[in-house]
Symmetry: C2
Subunit: 152 residues, 2 copies
């Protein structure tokens, strides 16, 4: 039951920004994770649209968290990125299956989704990068190991 | 976070068999759900390999549950069909990510998977088709609405 690559990148971008409070260029994030700057820029734009980060243009620009890490719930990020994806199609639709009248799987799967989402929403971005110091320590070291990439 | 089509079919085949205790031809299941006989046969073979159903060849043959519906846990079926799929790759792998040392997302996602699986394993196949009578009522009616298909 894998999450999409977009969600993977969204969470990693947020973790990076939470671990490094200052404004960051997209190329730095991409270089750090060794993923495409283009993809990071695309996901960063979505994160900005969903209100999680700010994209600041121009000299000294870059991306930064738009909310405190304590105020970002992991489940909300997953839900924003994944959209209304269900374990099976029948969960989100009426009258899709011939046995729907006698089948309770739909309710079971909806509950399974909700239980997982409730747990993910009990976790804040700040919980994931804690203790914050460790991530801040990692970032400059990792950045030194590769060439800088152009900011997105 | 959708399940695969194989899991969808596996659950639907089991629900059909649990709702209709007598031996059933694969073509009947396929016709009932209006899905490909080839695909039903393929998934039925896997269900047999995992020990959930029996495939009986020859005249009077067909497929039937190999265990009581009360003894089949929904989570086990999902796990057998999905394999070791994780929400993100990092959950099932060591040393995949540059921030692993400082990132707690891996543990959070592993816990989210486990919570969902624990719930799905609290549900039995018999819970999903309950009350069993309703599904038995549906099956012959639905079968009458379409042409019979060859048994797989």
């Amino acid at each position: 039951m894998p999450l999409s690559l977009q969600t993977d990148y969204a969470l990693r971008i947020l973790i990076y920004l939470a671990g490094r409070p200052e404004r960051t260029q997209i190329g730095q994030v991409a270089g750090f994770y060794r993923i495409s700057t283009h993809h990071v820029a695309k996901v960063a734009n979505r994160l900005a649209r969903w209100g999680y980060i700010r994209c600041v243009r121009g000299i000294g620009g870059g991306i930064e968290l738009a909310r405190r890490a304590e105020d970002i719930r992991v489940g909300d990020v997953v839900r924003a990125s994944e959209g209304k994806m269900h374990l099976l199609d029948c969960v989100g639709t009426e009258n899709i299956c011939v046995i729907q009248r006698a089948c309770k799987l739909r309710g079971v799967l909806a509950r399974a989704e909700q239980i997982q989402m409730d747990y993910l929403n009990s976790v804040r971005l700040s919980d994931v990068v804690r203790p914050a110091g460790q991530l801040v320590d990692l970032l400059p070291r990792a950045a030194r190991r590769r060439q800088p990439q152009p900011a997105g």
